[in-house]
Amino acid sequence: ADTIKVGILHSLSGTMAISETSLKDVALMTIEEINAKGGVMGKKLEPVIVDPASNWPLFAEKARQLISQDKVAVVFGCWTSVSRKSVLPVFKELNSLLFYPVQYEGEELEKNVFYTGAAPNQQAIPATEYLMSKEGGGAKRFVLLGTDYVYPRTTNKILRAFLKSKGVADKDIDEVYTPFGHSDYQTIVANIKKFSAGGKTAVISTINGDSNVPFYKELGNAGLKATDVPVVAFSVGEEELRGVDTKPLLGHLAAWNYFQSVKNPANAAFIKQWKAYAAAKKLPNASTVVTNDPMEATYVGIHMWKQAVEKAKSTDTDKVIAAMGGQTVKSPSGFMLTMDPTNHHLHKPVMIGEIKGDGQFNVVWKTKGPLRAQPWSPYIAGNEGKQKM
């Protein structure tokens, strides 16, 4: 064939469409960029888009369709951990490639997957350390608030172990879970308030998806300010904040590996490219589009795959996997990111930002350089020595 097909597997309808639609668009933009520069090995990339509709079994079916019916060379896709778990067997069985662009809970290493989002040590742990620092407010008590599924559960398990190692007692940790789509946070916010009467408290939020807006609205109206009880979130980025009036949220935090507000030429170009793309394609709300971490991770992932294919001179899965190790990309985060050959995760910088009135983040802390991922958290017993494929 004179084109190389690549699959895009993001929900365009259903509950996850909120987050995943823009990843599809970024992927298309990146593919267009690559094609404009001559494609890969002289062949144009041809995107094949499917809609798994936020339905996990449908993810598996669509993955199979992309790989065996459409014969794509690689798939960029998934957001939630459960969707990733549901497609994994398909990628293993058919020995194909998945690029997964979202921060996740770790505890996984698959030969057929490249993880371009953060592992817990590249997001959750540094954020918690920051909250405990003097600059971060010196929190002594923690509310671990999350949506009840594997990513928050596992992350909180790791954080609990981490806090314990820092001498935080169990009574100073409160772990609360709400279901997907939970929308009434009155009781929970009241409880946070009550809990915070016992000493400097911070909330670590792994709330995902739709629940964030009602949570923050309740928080703002109940008068809990970031200077009293800061909330650090791992799944709230620029895209999510588009749907929120951020004035009451001033100073609440998020930890990521990239923020739109990061200033460097690569990012300026990335933002400009995205805005131009949105305007050209007449995306809804094109005038207010923003970039965020998973979008950046998608962008980086596609470029890295391109480099690996060119190095391997083939789209063959095994050859590409072999060539991926050690690939580097100058990313919009301002750092040179490297794909770790042993664990298929990116080395990533960590940044902590405070929410500003305009829905952007003010970076208040960041690592000096990229950190190697530890998908198997060392704070969990039995994980020693599992850091390699």
């Binding site: 469409a17 929308s183 009155q186 009781t187 009241a190 739709d210 109206n221 004035k247 935090l253 405070e354």
Partner: protein, 531 residues
């Protein structure tokens, strides 16, 4: 700690003395040594001058900028001012906002509230005093005493006395401690609890943290008062949360109570009508933002009629094109309206994008009123409760006090006969469905003030809405109201002890069991007429 510094500075300098802000004082603000910045804030606060207040406000509101040379400017409406002189100056090149993090912002807030305690303005003093109530320490005693001396307002005075007492809890003088504990018997400040509990704890050597027996006795008494008061607050809080949740359920369900309850249409697109109401609110906000920015807070008032009209129109179009062919085949309506629901969601996704859109509370609905010491009742929820009651009253009046209401009920019970006695059933159907849809639109306006506005908004409410209508008894408005508030309260009293998920499951199980007892819902119709 930071508070202590502020207050010491405040005391050390003669209050009220006017002094220009020294440029040297400003320089650290532009630097990146966090401790130095905080110290600078405190020193500036100690000037206690209008300029200082202005500068601190600027810092708080991201209006303080630094030029590359380290000079600091206040920027307002694209105009730069020199904080040292207060003079307008030309905008320097390469000027950039001074970034403020939580720690610095906290320091600024504390400094401002310390300054405000001595302000001329009563409201400012009151706010400052209640701010201090949240966290007071021994080091604040001198300032508080000083403020107390000057204070004439009884409310603020009582507050400050509590604050002073809190500070005195750690006084070395047992008599002061005793007096403080006694004075605190009327406090409802939850953060006192750990302090008081700490006084009752034993040191490693077996002695009590609080050496005096008499004080400890008093502590126990105060603690039990405090606990009782907190329990009461919590109860009232739950009650309020329940009413609030109930009003949300009610607003979500009311339109359905008409389209499903009265007309018998299993309207799966009801949620999408809520969503359209919410998006209309968003559009109203956009219009106001762009064309009437000064009246932005009024956008919500404009959104009510707009949402009603838009959703009623959508409803009428749906009724005329699809639903009207399906009367008497209720299950078919489920199928068709499910299709409509999918299409409406996708339509909104295509127009507005899959992401949520931002709908902000107008300022009069932001924040809340504090009652019973610590319970914050947020304005948006209070407004929505009253709004829900208003809508119910309106619907009730339309259905029971107008001929339209009578016709609606007649048409749904016996369409053919209603036609034969001269009712234009098509028109009645259209108007009724329009009304139900319009009411759903109003519900959407209310929901936009609490949660997400996105294409999936409706999906989150559809099941609850059906539960409420069915639990209340299909076609029974009073039942719908009671069911909504009942479920709201049940949920909110269960949630603190079992968590949100189990509370929800319990409620669903409750509904299932309740229907066993009353197979026609809360307000069941009895007798022959039902068959």
């Amino acid at each position: 700690m930071k508070k202590l510094l502020v207050l010491i500075w405040l005391l050390a300098h003669s209050l009220g003395a006017m002094a220009a802000i020294d440029a040297a004082l400003l320089a650290p603000l532009a630097g990146d040594d966090p401790d130095a910045r905080i110290e600078a804030v405190n020193r500036i606060a100690a000037l206690a001058s209008d300029d200082a207040v202005k500068l601190l406000h600027a810092l708080q509101n991201d209006a303080l900028y630094a030029a590359p040379d380290g000079k600091v400017y206040i920027v307002e409406d694209d105009q730069a001012f020199d904080p040292a002189s207060g003079q307008k100056v030309a905008m320097p090149d390469g000027i950039d906002g001074i970034s403020v993090n939580n720690r610095l912002r906290g320091a600024v807030e504390d400094a401002l509230s310390g300054l405000k305690l001595l302000s001329e303005n009563r409201t400012e003093r009151l706010a400052a005093a209640s701010e201090l109530q949240k966290s007071a320490s021994a080091a604040q005693a001198p300032l508080i005493n000083k403020a107390l001396e000057k204070e004439t307002d009884p409310e603020i005075k009582a507050m400050l006395q509590l604050v002073a007492a809190t500070a005195n809890l750690v006084s070395p003088d047992a008599a002061l401690r005793l007096a403080a504990v006694k004075a605190l018997a009327t406090s409802s400040n939850a953060s006192l609890k750990p302090v008081l509990l700490g006084m009752l704890e034993k040191n490693p050597d077996g002695s009590y943290a609080e050496p005096e027996e008499t004080v400890r006795v008093e502590v126990v008494r105060t603690l039990s008062d405090l606990n009782a008061r907190l329990a009461r607050t919590e109860f009232v809080g739950n009650l309020f949360y329940g009413v609030s949740l109930g009003s949300v359920l009610l607003l979500a369900a009311l339109g359905l109570a008409i389209t499903f309850g009265l007309m018998g249409i299993i309207n799966m697109a009801h949620g999408e009508l809520l969503m359209i109401g919410a998006y209309t609110t968003y559009l109203c906000q956009l219009v106001f933002r762009n064309y009437f920015p000064l009246a932005l807070d009024a956008y919500l008032l404009a959104a009510l009629p707009a949402a009603f009209i838009v959703t009623a129109t959508v409803g009428i179009v749906l009724e005329r094109t699809v639903i009207r062919w399906l009367y008497g085949r209720p299950l078919e309506t489920l199928l068709a309206t499910w299709g409509i629901s999918l299409m409406l969601m996708q339509l909104v996704r295509t127009i507005f994008g899959a992401q949520n859109v931002e709908v902000a509370n107008p300022s009069w609905m932001s924040g809340g009123v504090t009652v019973m010491g610590s319970l914050v009742l947020s304005y948006n929820r209070i407004v929505i409760i009253f709004f829900a009651l208003f809508v119910v009253a309106a619907v009730w009046a339309i259905l029971n006090k107008t001929r339209l209401g009578l016709f609606v009920r007649a048409v749904t019970q016996n369409r053919r006969m209603a036609d034969c006695v001269g009712v234009s059933t098509g028109r009645v159907d259209m108007m009724t469905f329009g009304l139900g849809s319009g009411i759903a639109g109003l519900g959407g306006v209310a929901l936009s003030q609490l949660g997400n506005v996105g294409p999936d908004l409706g999906q989150g409410y559809i099941i609850d809405s059906f539960m409420v209508v069915v639990l209340g008894g299909v076609g029974q408005l009073a039942g719908t109201v009671i069911a909504a508030f009942g479920l709201g309260e049940l949920n909110k009293f269960l949630e603190p002890s079992v968590g949100a998920v189990i509370a929800k499951i319990t409620i669903l199980v409750f509904i299932i069991i309740f229907i066993q007892k009353r197979p026609q819902g809360l307000f069941a119709l009895k007798g022959r007429s039902v068959e």
